[in-house]
Symmetry: C2
């Protein structure tokens, strides 16, 4: 009997958390190129055979790790207002991009993304999954009359998340607590004079 | 007499354009790690001694290339309205990030940025230079009453540029002409229902 899937009925190996953590740590340490099924198996202390039973390639493990790892988990806020929910969501993204446990993962994804079609596909799936989870924020805001019907949440999230990635990684500037609220205000109220 | 600086009074070597092009092409082809003074000299057909007379390191050449190369040059629009100017500017950024001549440079900068403090400093200087050049767009908009006094142009540009980088490189999605106008509308008018 295989220890990793023994007694498992949840559609993932029992040591999934260890596998996901190992995968993301390896990505952060060695970059996308240095990530291999061999190294994942070694670091998570799971048989390579077991690993291959669940995922056909490192890209499949990485996609699963990015989506399901506890390390990147986030709770969808429900503060009672769209503004509050977006500030909370921005704060989660900021923590993800700057905390010592997760910033190297974000940096590694960023570094690898432009050169790897496989990682591009993973990025697409990862952010689609996030968007799916964030959907209630926008659904509730429309119900409360804070957003017009047919608002596209993607553009709003591209702006909030994109401005943060851009400022932190490309402009190499800091993002402060005040900046998070200012960004949400801009996206909701606009910059134009009235 | 050195051919590269012969007769030059402009504060840069006579073959500066060739040097800048070679530097950016090497960055795109080989990545930041593969960029060396040796390779720049070889590719631009300039003596290494000449190169070192003008710049102390590859980081200095790269910073100069990013700021002064014809390849990355852009004209600051003056369409008569802030909305028009921002759509034009977004279009320039989109071209820069997607055209075959410049997209690999942008991707290489993106790939190297999170891991290189030197490149981070270059990024900071590059985008500060762009912001400086874009300043008239915002100055004129304030004069025309389109923006309140004391508007911070950086947040607006972080959002427009950031959303585009984010969508193209991280979400691996396309940006269409309509999306450019939609982004500018969002940043100027806000998403909130009125």
């Amino acid at each position: 009997m295989d220890t990793a899937s023994d007694g498992n009925t949840s559609g993932r190996p029992r040591r999934a958390d260890a596998i996901f953590t190992a995968t993301l740590e390896l990505l952060a340490d060695k970059g996308y190129e240095g990530l291999t099924m061999e190294a994942i198996a070694l670091r998570s202390e799971v048989n390579k055979t077991t690993l291959y039973r669940w995922w056909k390639s490192k890209d499949e493990v990485l996609a699963a790790a990015l989506t399901h790892s506890d390390l990147l988990t986030f709770s969808v806020p429900d503060t009672g207002s769209l503004r509050g929910d977006l500030v909370e969501t921005s704060r989660s993204i900021h923590t993800l991009l700057t905390s010592s446990a997760t910033a190297p993962i974000a940096a590694a994804v960023l570094a690898a993304a432009p050169h790897s079609p496989a990682l591009a596909a993973i990025g697409r799936a990862f952010f689609a999954d996030r968007a799916e989870r964030e959907h209630p924020i926008f659904r509730r805001a429309i119900d409360r009359g804070e957003l017009p019907e047919h608002t596209d949440p993607r553009l709003i999230m591209d702006m909030l998340a994109g401005a943060m990635w851009f400022r932190l990684f490309l402009r190499a500037d800091a993002v402060h607590e005040d900046d998070l609220a200012a960004a949400v205000d801009l996206v909701l109220d606009g910059a134009a004079a009235r």
